[in-house]
Amino acid sequence: MAQTVFEPWNDPDQEPLIQFRNVTKRFGDFTAIDNLSLDIFEREFFALLGPSGCGKTTMMRMLAGFEGVSEGAIYLSGKDIAPVPPNKRAVNMMFQSYALFPHLSVWDNIAFGLKRDRLPKKAIGDRVSEMLQLTRLEKFAHRKPHQISGGQRQRVALARSLAKAPKLLLLDEPLGALDKKLRQDTQFELMDIQEKTGTTFVIVTHDQEEAMTVASRVAVMDEGRLIQVDTPAQIYESPNSLYVADFIGDVNIIEGHAKKSGDGYDITFAEGQPVLHAKTSRDLGSAGKCYLAIRPEKVTVSAEKPEGRTNLVKGTILDIAYLGNLSTYHVKLASGQIIKAQTANTRRIARRDLTWEDEVWLSWTETAAVVLEV
């Protein structure tokens, strides 16, 4: 069987499931969503990432039908959804606040949507049991929402929104209150559901690791605008701006001056430091001030000067953070910059030979760093 890569966004013949066309949403004179255009495709697991108040929930609420758009339009399967009321949309939402019905038991909360579809009793019972099992809530089926814990409530909200197996599922921070283990299990559970049912997921999360694990694509938002929409790997490996680089994962940012050279740029960043080189197909326009972003795990630390490396700087170890599987070295250069370098601890006691105040060499390849415009 030919394994085809799932990349509908690169296929011009694919019709998107959801289209935001120049959508603007204002609350009074505050602009929550600012002229935003976005395509989300069927079977995608689309993650919205961004700081608090950037408009993630607002986008969800517009899709679910609780907020209208101020300008522009949203299309679902090619149809403008503006005139469709929330209860007629094949969309279910898990609320950030859960919004569980306080007067109904866990069982009845999950069954609520199924009952509205006038399904036979047996089918409802089966589906609810399935959902209870999935979210490991069997024991709490007959409790009221106020009689269970915060994490359990979150799972009830998740089960309730999953129960109807909608075409589009909106999850507003679905796993925030779960412990790490349960969260990972549920993430895989979600991906599994997605494989099986072909549901399209739009998920809001504050946890970038989660976005990286589950998402087919990630949108990084800021103040109602999309900064970058790309696969998790692309977002991580080649962020398009300082904002994205800084927002996702740990990163070293070096400020400097770029000059076109060969297939990339030469970057001078401090008096007395060697010129760095970064390979890129990106065009910075007129050469000048730039940022160089390097992930700590791409920086190699060595006690002896390595041979044949393009980018090589020297410094002293300021601090070592031992994280179990990883160690992070904070290295101070003579010119004052602090660069973080991360190594995997494959040996039992990591890198005995390096310790505080040691002089070390930091090096990275010419493709490891990303040049960013100011």
Binding site: F66, F95, A99, R153
Partner: protein
């Protein structure tokens, strides 16, 4: 807990004495054997017995009860609907006017309400009787229901209704299955309030009642003018008992369930 000081104890006693001594006297004298109201002639339940023989009183009591049940029920339905529209309707044209007009009867002198209703009934040629009293009581008590219910709706978390809509219920189903069960305590106390208001209304009822139907307060009032009889004392004692029980139940019910509901809601909605 702080202990009662001499001053607090005195003012408490005086206050309660002021409130309850008249009623106490009434209750004591309802058990008076003598026909003379203010002369104590020993304990007896004779007047209670005679009361039960009094057709006029009994039929007035029956009318009052019918009117109170009917008018408070209609008022509860209308008042709840009005409150819902005012709180949930968003900004529609004339909203401010509507909300102002709903609360106006709260401060309107009863005489004016009564008189205007009387003129209306005469104008449209409606014979005064049970129906007109029910209509009149509905009119003035629905705004009380509306106040009680809307204060509950204000603190009601809107996302619960949104969740119901999201799961495919129609707006009416969302109201019936989610909103109503949660605000039920407020609706019930609204009903009880309307019920007691109707039960002891004299002014509006005397404008809108006719020869075919008399309510108890009117009956009592008119017989007082012929002199206080021990029978009235007995009747009033029974009324005090009924009202006391009603008020106590109402406040207990609404307090307990609203506390519980609020706890439920807080628990269900994070933060």
């Amino acid at each position: 807990m702080r202990r009662l000081t001499w001053f607090n104890a005195t003012s408490l006693t005086l206050g309660f004495a002021f409130l309850y001594i008249p009623m106490l006297i009434l209750i004591i004298f309802s058990f008076n054997a003598s026909k003379l109201v203010m002369v104590w002639a020993g304990f007896s339940t004779r007047w209670y017995g005679e009361l039960l023989q009094n057709e006029a009183f009994l039929s007035a009591a029956w009318t009052t009860l019918k009117v109170a049940v009917a008018s408070s029920t209609i008022a509860t339905v209308l008042g709840t609907m009005a409150a819902y529209v005012l709180i949930r309707g968003g900004r529609f044209w004339g909203r401010t006017l509507f909300s102002g007009m709903i609360y106006a009867p709260l401060v309107m002198p009863e005489v004016i309400t009564g008189l205007s209703l009387l003129l209306l009934f005469i104008g449209i040629g409606l014979d005064r009787g049970v129906l007109t009293i029910v209509l009149a009581h509905t009119t003035f008590s629905m705004c009380f229901v509306s106040v009680v219910v809307s204060s509950r709706l204000v603190s009601f978390d809107r996302s619960l209704e949104e969740a119901a809509l999201d799961l495919g219920s129609t707006p009416f189903e969302a109201f019936r299955l989610v909103t109503l069960p949660i605000i039920a305590p407020a609706v019930i106390s609204g009903w009880l309030l309307a019920f007691t208001l109707s039960l002891d209304d004299l002014v509006i009822a005397s404008f809108t009642s006719g020869p075919s139907a008399t309510t108890l307060p009117i009956k009592i009032f008119s017989s007082i003018r012929l002199g206080v009889s021990p029978e009235i004392n007995a009747l009033s004692t029974i009324l005090i008992l009924i009202v006391t029980i009603g008020v106590l139940t109402a406040s207990l019910v609404s307090k307990r369930s609203s506390l519980k509901m609020q706890a439920d809601e807080r628990a269900a909605v994070r933060n």
